[in-house]
């Protein structure tokens, strides 16, 4: 398998994530879109580590990355909960109070 194969995988995952971010009407699904994007980039880092034979470095980077990811998702989930408190649903289209 070539590096290009993994690149294609990463691009496809990224497109899925971005599409979800752009077209979803749900706050939680937006977070899921972000998650898929992060998966894509995790795969890229591991692939790079594999092909440059720097797997130890790549693994340690991925471990740190995963910790960061969890913290961000916890905070984001807290914010979603807060928004739900006000608007009683997860509709992203109500998120347009700030404009201009």
């Amino acid at each position: 398998m070539s590096f290009w194969f993994f690149c294609v995988c990463v691009i496809m995952l990224a497109v899925i994530g971005v599409y979800c971010l752009l077209y979803t009407y749900s706050l939680m699904r937006a977070l899921i879109g972000i998650e898929i994007l992060i998966k894509a980039v995790t795969l890229l880092i591991i692939a790079v580590g594999y092909f440059s034979q720097h797997l130890a470095l790549a693994q340690s980077l991925v471990i740190t990355l995963i910790v960061m990811e969890v913290v961000i998702m916890v905070v984001a989930a807290g914010i979603v909960l807060g928004l739900h408190h006000y608007q009683k649903d997860l509709d992203i289209r109500k998120l347009r109070e700030l404009k201009g």
């Binding site: 971010l21 077209y23 998120l95 347009r96 700030l98 404009k99």
Partner: protein
């Protein structure tokens, strides 16, 4: 004290005094006028004692040839002394002009700050340093106008915008000049007016003549006349800005660049001057307000100075510069009489004024002298400087001379109207109880009026000591002191003044001396003159002439408003429209924002790989 220290002190002293004034607490009401008077008197002495000395001061600054350098020599010392003198007189005047405490405090602050900054701009020997002080003056201008009360904000913005734009031009000019000359030190620059040189010159010229208040950068001055406090008008537009603007114009024309009579730049300057003087005076003729009428004259007289300097022949140059100092005197005197009238009678509306001549004899006397000066009546100072400008204009082209003479005629006519309406005739009921102003207000007027007379009768004093040394070598073999040499010019001037008198007499005769018809009377004599001329030489109906002159005045007015609109209307509304479109596009939908990011991402990648 050595001259370098004194040079620095002349800049620093007023600025420090101004900050001191800002810091004085309200509990000590006497401290502020004390500081103001002490600082102005001290800097007056300082600048007069600097007279005739030369020095160069320089501190290392930005590096790369940009030094904080100042140069004291004959010309800059002269302007600095004049600035200090006006500052002193206006300070004296304001002692009893302002009623509100806070207003007088801020006015004193701005006055001293302006004085210090102006001294810095004049003494600077480095273009960037000069720009530094020049731009800072913009702030005091803004602050001054803001003092006028709640309606003055719009005017202040207008003044700020116009001056800001012209200063921007000047900045470009300075950058170009530095690029051409390879240095920013003014003493080292002497450039020919080739294509690039002329471009740089014109940019610098825009900055200079806009400061002086020439058309088409004048539109804020009449507005400020109504909105801003009157001592401001007497100080900045009438005196300080003329001194600075014409100083810079002189420096760039004959010092930094080599302005020659045959160049097209010289013709351009003359056209600007001639247009300014005739259009503004036509505007002045139809005004019905004391202050506004004066403000249009403040514009018109700049035309003479620019015309004089623009001729680039010795007589014109000397005349232009002489007119600058004369104008600063008589115009601030006129504004000060206006201030007295406003303070005492409570209004400057000519329809409500009248018969003040007997109630305010000193003010009236000063007004008479200053009005005679501005109208060019011998033997007052304005006469001599105008004669020199005429001389120069005649040498370059008859048309310029004719326009200048015509301007003189209208000037005389409008001052006859103003004097008549304000000081003679019947007083309106509101102003019947008017009394003479307090002595701190009268003293500056008297001093300036006396100087007007002195500079006229003994014109060798300013000409030999102040004006002619400025041009040095360029004037070799000329001396313009004493009576004008060209008898033809004197005869023509006297004829024009006579015609103006005659014209006024006709007007009064025809329409009666009713105050409400004042402006109408002063239309009509102009028309009658045209009518008589037409009857003698051409077949020109009276009505047509009336319409033509009316139309001309309307066109002048329209032109004035158009320029005004271009500054304050078009640019603002375009910005507002764009702003609206941009705000509408921020719909609050985060997906839209994300689309922008993704499109930019794709675009920049495409761009990178295409270029590669």
């Amino acid at each position: 004290m050595t001259p370098p220290i004194m040079t620095m002190l002349v800049i620093a002293l007023p600025i420090f005094a101004s900050l001191l004034i800002l810091l004085t607490p309200k509990r000590w009401p006497a401290s502020q006028p004390t500081i103001l008077m002490a600082a102005t008197i001290a800097s007056l002495f300082l600048s007069f004692s600097l007279f005739g000395k030369e020095s160069m001061v320089s501190f290392p600054w930005l590096g790369g040839g940009l030094d904080f350098s100042f140069r004291l020599y004959q010309f800059s010392a002269f302007i600095v002394a004049a600035v200090a003198a006006f500052s002193f007189l206006i300070a004296l005047y304001t002692l009893s002009f302002f009623r509100a405490d806070n207003q007088s405090k801020l006015f004193a602050f701005y006055l001293l700050l302006s004085q210090g900054l102006a001294a810095g701009a004049v003494l600077a020997n480095n273009l960037v340093v000069m720009l530094f002080f020049w731009e800072a003056l913009l702030l005091t201008l803004f602050g001054f106008i803001l003092l006028g009360g709640q309606y003055s904000f719009k005017t202040a913005i207008k003044a700020f915008t116009i001056n800001g734009i012209t200063d921007l031009c000047m900045m470009l000019g300075i950058v170009l000049t530095i690029f051409l000359a390879g240095t920013a030190t003014m003493t080292k620059i002497n450039l020919p007016l080739d294509t690039l040189g002329a471009t740089a010159f014109i940019f610098l010229m825009i900055g200079a003549i806009a400061k002086a208040g020439s058309m088409p950068f004048h539109t804020w001055i009449p507005d400020a006349a109504l909105d801003a406090p009157l001592p401001f008008m007497a100080f900045l537009p009438a005196a300080l800005e003329k001194l600075l603007g014409i100083y810079l114009l002189t420096r760039i024309s004959f010092d930094l660049f080599q302005l020659k009579p045959e160049s097209w730049v010289s013709s351009l300057l003359m056209i600007v001057g001639a247009a300014t003087l005739i259009l503004a005076v036509l505007m002045a003729l139809i005004q019905k307000n004391y202050k506004k009428l004066l403000s249009y004259h403040a514009i018109s007289q700049v035309g003479y100075m620019i015309l004089g300097l623009g001729t680039a022949v010795p007589a014109g140059m000397v005349g232009g510069l002489f007119h600058m100092i004369n104008h600063a005197m008589y115009k601030s005197c006129l504004f000060l009489t206006g201030g007295s009238v406003e303070k005492q009678a409570g209004t400057t509306d000519l329809e409500k004024l009248g018969g003040l001549g007997w109630k305010m004899p000193v003010t009236f006397g000063c007004f008479l002298i200053a009005a005679a000066s501005i109208s060019g009546v011998p033997p007052f100072n304005g006469f001599f400087s105008k004669e020199l400008v005429y001389d120069g204009a005649l040498e370059r082209g008859t048309i310029f001379y004719v326009i200048a003479l015509l301007g003189s005629f209208f000037t005389a006519a409008s001052f006859l109207k103003l004097g008549h309406a304000a000081y003679f005739g019947q007083a309106a009921t509101q102003t019947r109880e008017t009394k003479e102003a307090a002595w701190p207000m009268l003293l500056p007027m008297i001093i300036i009026a006396a100087l007007c007379l002195l500079f006229g009768l003994w014109n060798a004093l300013p000409l030999n000591n102040l004006i002619q040394p400025v041009f040095g070598q360029q004037l070799a073999g000329h001396n313009y002191a004493g009576l004008p040499h060209n008898l033809f010019l004197i005869v023509m001037t006297v004829i024009v003044i006579g015609l103006a008198l005659l014209n006024h007499w006709f007007g009064v005769k025809r329409y009666g001396s009713g105050l409400k018809a004042a402006d109408h009377i002063h239309y009509a004599p102009g028309l009658k003159q045209a009518y008589n001329l037409a009857e003698k030489k051409f077949f020109d109906p009276y009505e047509l002439g009336l319409k033509a002159i009316r139309l001309f005045a309307i066109i002048a007015w329209g032109l004035d408003r158009l320029i005004d609109w271009l500054y304050s209307g078009l640019a603002t509304s375009a910005a507002r429209l764009l702003s609206l479109v941009i705000r509408k596009s921020h719909s609050g939908n985060y997906a839209t924002y994300l689309w922008w990011v993704i499109v930019s991402l794709a675009g920049s990648m495409l761009y990178i790989f295409m270029v590669k």
